[in-house]
Symmetry: D2
Subunit: 161 residues, 4 copies
Amino acid sequence: MTIRIFVTGGTFDKEYNEIIGELYFRDTHVGEMLSLGRSLVDTKVTTLMMVDSLRMTEADRQKIISSCKAASEERILITHGTDTMDITARELGEAKLPKVVVLTGAAVPYKFGSSDGMFNLGSALAFVQMLPHGVYIAMNGRCFSWDNVRKNRAKGVFEEL
Amino acid sequence: MTIRIFVTGGTFDKEYNEIIGELYFRDTHVGEMLSLGRSLVDTKVTTLMMVDSLRMTEADRQKIISSCKAASEERILITHGTDTMDITARELGEAKLPKVVVLTGAAVPYKFGSSDGMFNLGSALAFVQMLPHGVYIAMNGRCFSWDNVRKNRAKGVFEEL
Amino acid sequence: MTIRIFVTGGTFDKEYNEIIGELYFRDTHVGEMLSLGRSLVDTKVTTLMMVDSLRMTEADRQKIISSCKAASEERILITHGTDTMDITARELGEAKLPKVVVLTGAAVPYKFGSSDGMFNLGSALAFVQMLPHGVYIAMNGRCFSWDNVRKNRAKGVFEEL
Amino acid sequence: MTIRIFVTGGTFDKEYNEIIGELYFRDTHVGEMLSLGRSLVDTKVTTLMMVDSLRMTEADRQKIISSCKAASEERILITHGTDTMDITARELGEAKLPKVVVLTGAAVPYKFGSSDGMFNLGSALAFVQMLPHGVYIAMNGRCFSWDNVRKNRAKGVFEEL
């Protein structure tokens, strides 16, 4: 069983540009994170885009959905900015694909040392191996169905509706 | 649903003693790791022992089994040194408890920065929420049943028999 | 011999705000960094301000100069954003105080793991103990006199004029 | 002015062997640490040996002394285990070379995240650029002459006699 991982950007992959003193995207760290986690799960990583999810367009979301549809794998993990993760999950859920799709992300960039990214990646990879067909968000160690989840922006965590 | 976490030591919790230049155990880092992972899973952490699993005795294993039996929770996560994790899993499996027990550990101490511990803790916490009754080892992003797993000592990874 | 350390902010002390996904200042990490470095140098840390040096005003610089003048210590270390560190150094140099003043900073925030901050703090603390009266910038392991230094913004490093 | 850096091992360069769960030496991290510190000091790094300083032999010390003698550089930095750093410093001091030699080390391995190594390397590099001929130990942000220093083993710090 191969897990397809689609990278879309988000806090997961933000880095610090020391010339201009701002956060930016370069390449994804997901491969490095899987190595660090000594993952032996059979995965294939594809970068679809590298965007802050607040700037994700409807065209971006359509690309994510069509990529999930077109993938030969049944089980798909998507790394995604947390700010609009619930919106993308909803659109994916309504597409009713015969697949298991799990979205995850991070509150703190992986490169900033104190990241929750490794923890979330580990849990998301476990959930995507176990769950039945559907679309889910794996954050804070928990797993939510796409139709019963939102980001609590004040607290920065995910919760049921 | 509350997850009981039993700490037994292992690489997970090793620290560097800078006075004598050797590795040692002090307190568990599991609580700190759950905070770092922004975990919102309802967990209760209990330290049963703090030992290198190569030095784990039969009495230690009996204590682990009786603690699992006595716990009021149905779902139990055990942090454990990897060297004899498969032995403890086997004894727990043969005890046939009506519970979900997942053992996990780390190749590199959490305090040493490049740890797989956060990744494993995330995946173990996901597996323990999802799996049916049984005893499992969650390592390398994968999940093994107690009667079909061993540590490949040359490679430092877990694999099926 | 006591070294006075004046904190003014800068990249040194930037943190990641995980609610809004932006960098910000909270408290200084200089005390924590000195502990981590096992420093036994007699130091007293005072926070004068917590600003990005691009936003440092002339009033801020006057406060820094008057604080250096008023300090009872002869040897003073200033943590400062790198973008305008050379400007503050020049104003301090022209004030011709009978003191040793060393400015230092960081390209990457201390909290982001891969910081040059510990290295710069170590070298600045050494330079401030050794140098004769004057105003200096300690960056990149080197020490520059205030009247012969500028930040090369394209490369993000300090160099002689 | 070029600084010669002689690597002899010590805690600085210890790594964690995840197969056997013990500390060991592989390659030096000094080059990586200089890059991380964005050092622009002109340095040449040579590994003389990779040993725990408790196991350093008299032959090892003679090799260090003769290497310092033979070096074309006037300013030399030596990374060294802290346990016998004062002994090597004494032998170097008694050799009365017309050079500046600064020894430094670390309480915690660089690879273990919370290292004082970056701080010590920064301060040692500053001291070696500034000091007159002699042999010194740079630890804890301070600088000691070879004939007035010892390691306080109970506290793990360096102090005057």
